[in-house]
């Protein structure tokens, strides 16, 4: 479509993205409260890169994914894909972009239509975007997509219920890849799978990334999986990015207190490793009424009165390493430093 894009290496540029949902009405005739699910998120993904978006429930990570795909309309900010601003495009104008960015879902049971055969499910993108494709050609390309994800071409006539969870997730990936998109957004693609199968799907995604030169936005709550698959990691808390860093740097030298706590909370499958655990007090505050200034300050053990004043900006503290925290005078623990 564009041929070679040499001047601009970023495939996706997200700037100051905002998305809010209507909350409850405070009174019968008062306007609805606004829930800021995503509140000023900016990041780039370079071609061929895997960027992970990490956060706990309510962090807004999935909303970012869906808004980038324009399944939800952003309430502020801009999304540029391959150099084109797609923030305000109409449904019809979006269609050519849809085939270039695809989504893989968390739940391999809910994301496949139970009444359709594998051929119809995996071939649906072709039916939509290339309706002139002949039946034989479609079948050939579905079979090709199936073997790409490690399924047999003979599976083409089956229904989703005949597959195991891991195989269904492969079907979801085959559907996403049949049009050879440039960007794959994977929303918790392995969280619903059993441990042994999880590894199969993680490996498959890494394989496909290399073979097809895919760019991946990987959304997950599981830091261990994320650490395995990504080039860079962006950590979200209550609708904002708190830290963005290359994978190794994030694990070796986390710069934000939330990242530190998150890393220390992940249990390590080795009974001989004993670490000092930072247990965060309390729950994530309600997004209806988030804390002023830094949103993490209510649970942060390093919080100062100044933290309540203004939201800290995301600034570069080391090459490629960004954090949104005003405190530069603290030394944070990392899980890798303990194990080494």
């Amino acid at each position: 479509m564009d041929g070679m894009v040499t001047g601009d290496p970023a495939l996706l540029e997200v700037r100051d993205l905002r998305k809010w949902f209507a909350g409850p009405r405070p009174g019968p005739f008062r306007p609805r409260a606004k829930v800021h699910a995503v509140d000023g998120v900016s990041f780039d993904i370079r071609r061929g890169e895997v960027l992970s978006l990490v956060g706990e429930s309510g962090s807004g990570k999935s909303t970012v994914g869906r808004t980038v795909l324009r399944l939800a309309r952003p309430d502020g900010g801009s999304i540029r894909f391959g150099g084109t601003d797609i923030t305000g495009l109409s449904r019809d104008a979006l269609r050519p972009f849809r085939r270039r960015m695809q989504l893989v879902f968390q739940d391999p049971y809910a994301s496949l239509n139970p009444k359709m055969t594998v051929e119809e499910i995996v071939g649906a993108p072709l039916a939509i975007h290339e309706p002139s494709t002949s039946a034989a050609e479609r079948r050939r390309r579905v079979e090709e997509a199936l073997s790409l994800v490690g399924l047999l071409p003979s599976h083409i006539t089956r229904y989703p219920h005949e597959f195991s969870g891991g195989q269904r997730q492969r079907l979801g990936i085959a559907r996403a890849l049949i049009l050879r998109p440039e960007l794959l957004i994977a929303d918790e693609p392995v969280s619903a799978l059993d441990v042994s199968v999880q590894a199969q799907v993680v490996n498959l995604m890494l394989d496909l990334k290399e073979r097809l030169g895919l760019t991946i936005l990987f959304i997950s709550h599981d830091l261990a999986v994320v650490g395995h698959i990504s080039d860079r990691i962006a950590v979200m808390y209550l609708g904002r990015l708190v830290e963005v860093a290359p994978t190794q740097a994030l694990f070796a030298t986390p710069r934000h207190p939330y990242t530190e706590a998150l890393l220390s909370a992940v249990p390590i499958p080795d009974p001989t490793v004993r670490r000092e655990r930072i247990v965060l007090v309390g729950d994530v505050p309600s997004p209806l009424n988030p804390p002023s200034g830094c949103r993490f300050r209510t649970r942060c053990r390093y919080a100062l009165p100044a933290c309540a004043e203004a939201p800290p900006a995301l600034r570069e503290v080391a090459p490629g390493h960004f954090k949104a925290c005003i405190r530069d005078d603290i030394a944070l623990a990392s899980p890798t430093s303990v194990a080494a």
Binding site: S111, P114, L152, G166, R170
Partner: protein, 294 residues
Amino acid sequence: MSTAAADAALPRPARRRDSALRRFMRHRLAVFGTVVIGLLALACAVGPYLLPFSDTEIDIMQRFAPPFSGAHLLGTDPLGRDILARILMAGRISLSVGFAAMAISMVIGIAVGLVAGYYGGWLGTVLMRFVDAMLCFPSIFLLLAVSSLIGPAVGSIILLIAVTSWMEVARIVEAQIRALKARDFAVAAEALGASDARVMTRELLPNAIAPIVVAATLNVAHAILAESYISFLGYGIQPPTPSWGNMLDNAQSYLTSAPWLAIFPGAAITLAVTSFNFIGDGLRDALDPRMGGR
């Protein structure tokens, strides 16, 4: 890729699940209902050609002949017409009114429910409040009033019944679509760039088919009953064309002297309506996905 290939080499065998048909066959009353409706429809279709009497043939000598006593198996009416022939001819009318009204009401109900459930928002709210308003209206009065205005004919009766009985279907479809729309596979289709029409008809509707089929069956029963009501009250199918409802109407004055005039058409209505209800129950059990594993 070795792991992936190995995974594929172990295709999971298809779950041995009970088919919907087998579950339906286990529902005795539903099977009974199906047989009854089948026989009734067959009898109404071919019966009149086999009988020695036509439904309009007046025989003054044979007025009020009691059933099981002479040439007339189910007896005759005040004009000496054969009751059996009339019941079968009336069955043609009543059953076709039932099916036709059902078909039209399903089209309206599915369309309204689909649009309201898929788009939601103010459009959905307006449509569903309209459905609520229609449900509040006593439909029997509407039926009577309108049919007295436009004059009763089979076509207008069908249309009237359909127009007053699509609301339940709309509600069922709306609820189903609203729930299905949030499922990941519908979002997946949208993310692929599928058009609204494609998402609605290819992705959502096939998954809502089970409750729709059940509602359709129950709607036939409802339509037969509605036709009987209005014909009984004299605003429906007009004599000499027989319908189960107007046969009952005629029988009113002779309830004590010739009870068979009322018993046979009444039995036909009961049989048809309960059979359809049984079929509906059976279909509900058979098509309910919770009954047969995933």
